[in-house]
């Protein structure tokens, strides 16, 4: 099973990821424990140089992680051909108990890396590196996530067993089946849509209020905003499963968040998920920035950055909505009814 090219590729890519991330973590620890801004000793100068290594390594990590996330879904889709019973990525991911946790941890770590990356960018723009110790400590704290991701990937690869019958998306994302997938699919489109658009309108209103003069950002509001975006991400996924996918496949019973990435559906899932991820990542980061005290010590740059992130998240969110709901609108115009 290990000799499958997709598995090999995933392992290769992940080995690279693990290598660069470990490099970053070790250096981060050195910087964290030895940083003394007032000193002009050669040691401090050396540490300053190391910050560049960590920065460039983390840029690479973010890019690789994005690729790997995509690759995991693609690989799972391809592996479905070998696993009996599996029809698409869902089948392979659920063929052992490590698949979905792996996917979730990958999505989560993508967002974490993104937030870190933006914070790092901001910090590097400021002359006194105000976040330096915090961000490197954070990096060291992220490392266990990386380790668990590695372990999960290995377990997933080793336990892929072509003799165990997997399920296809038809059975997992089926209203009548038990489990999370079933619950997600079973939740009525009306409810998820209300939930999703409710969150979207809160986000939009929030965005407008922020632009009003006299708005006072606080730590608490920032945290709340970050949470709101996480919630939006989850509800957006719910609507993809329970509503959007039915109009892309044009089949009431076909509810799967992965099949829409396939060539058969013109890769429509690629822009859909890209903008959803971008919107969530930027929105989330904006909240975190504020929570970190953006208005206070981080100064002008942070305010500018927050505004840019805000614009980007709203824009991506709107694109996501357009991409996601146009199949429904086209279907409605063509047939004059809903599915």
């Amino acid at each position: 099973m290990i000799l499958n090219p997709w598995i090999l590729t995933m392992l290769t890519g992940h080995a690279a990821l693990f290598f660069v991330f470990s490099l970053a973590t070790i250096n981060a620890w050195w910087i964290f424990s030895g940083w003394d801004f007032t000193s002009s000793s050669e040691k401090q100068y050396g540490l300053e140089k190391r910050t560049y290594l960590v920065s460039s390594v983390m840029n690479l990590t973010l890019i690789i992680q994005m690729l790997m996330l995509f690759l995991l879904v693609m690989a799972a889709d391809e592996l479905a051909k070998i696993l009996p019973g599996a029809m698409c990525a869902t089948g392979s991911l659920s063929s052992n108990k490590y698949g979905f946790p792996l996917l979730m941890i990958k999505i989560g770590s993508f967002f974490i890396y993104f937030v870190w990356w933006v914070l790092n960018y901001l910090d590097n723009q400021l002359e006194d590196y105000p976040l330096v110790r915090k961000k490197y400590l954070a990096l060291v704290c992220i490392f266990p996530v990386m380790i668990s991701e590695t372990i999960l990937l290995l377990l997933f690869a080793v336990n892929l067993n072509p003799t165990v019958i997997a399920s296809c998306c038809g059975s997992i994302y089926n209203e009548s089946s038990a489990g999370l997938g079933g619950t997600m699919a079973g939740s009525s489109p009306l409810m998820t849509l209300t939930l999703f658009f409710g969150v979207v309108s809160i986000v939009l209103i929030w965005h407008m209020i922020e632009n009003i003069r006299g708005y006072r950002p606080t730590k608490k509001k920032g945290g709340l905003e970050a949470l709101l975006w996480v919630f939006l991400f989850v509800t957006a996924l719910l609507t993809v499963i329970s509503f959007i996918s039915t109009y892309i496949y044009e089949m009431l019973s076909h509810k799967c968040p992965f099949c829409l990435l396939k060539a058969e559906y013109n890769y429509i899932g690629v822009p859909l998920y890209f903008f959803l991820f971008l919107a969530t990542a930027t929105g989330l980061t904006k909240g975190v920035l504020q929570w970190m005290g953006a208005e206070g010590p981080l100064g002008e740059k942070a305010i500018w950055l927050r505004r840019r992130l805000g614009q980007m998240s709203i824009f991506s969110l709107l694109v996501y909505i357009v991409v996601g709901y146009s199949p429904f609108i086209i279907y409605y115009i063509r047939t004059g009814r809903t599915i």
């Binding site: 007032t38 002009s40 000793s41 050669e42 100068y45 300053e48 140089k49 590097n124 002359e127 590196y129």
Partner: protein
Amino acid sequence: MEDPILKTVNVTKIYNQGKQNEVVPVRNASLTVEEGTAVVLQGPSGSGKTTLLSMIGCQIKPTYGEIVVKGKQVSKLPEKFANLHKREHIGFVFQQFHLISDLSVLDNIILPLLPSGIPPGERKCRAEELLEEFELMPRKQFKVKDLSGGEQQRVAICRSLINGCSLLLADEPTAHLDGQLTIEFLKYMTHLKEKGYTILIASHDPAVFKNGMVDRIIEMNSGEIVS
């Protein structure tokens, strides 16, 4: 009174601090340079002129002390921001010129502008102005390695001036020049001083510090400023 363009306070540089081979090339150097003046740092070789000049030019960081250039404390800035400041305000002519020998004269001169993202048209414009000023126009497309020593130095001066700086630092500029070229070099320096540049030259060549354009001579000996 207007702030001086350059001020150093008790600048000390220690290499290999705390080790057997500890070296202190510069100790407690304090000096100020007013805008528009030409100052010579004079002293025998090994007296710490170059090191002090490099610290002022943000090439290396002092171990202790403060350096203020154009109202900005550069000695404590992280490398990136020190470089930003350097790029903007300081021109530096190295003793060995340090040109990239297989690039053309023009390409060498525009190098400092590349990180700023100035459009190529404007880059070329500025470079040609300087080439004109230093009589290098006919050599524009020559590779640097095909130029004579005097021409190379003029290219190095052009390169240091292209960022629109106001403080020009030159390290032993006449060390590789014969008498005729030294006079020519000083002619250019006088010209630059008239244009309002502040010039700081490290040199032990009498032809330089006895020249009439020099306003002040600072003498250094074994790492300390004598007068």
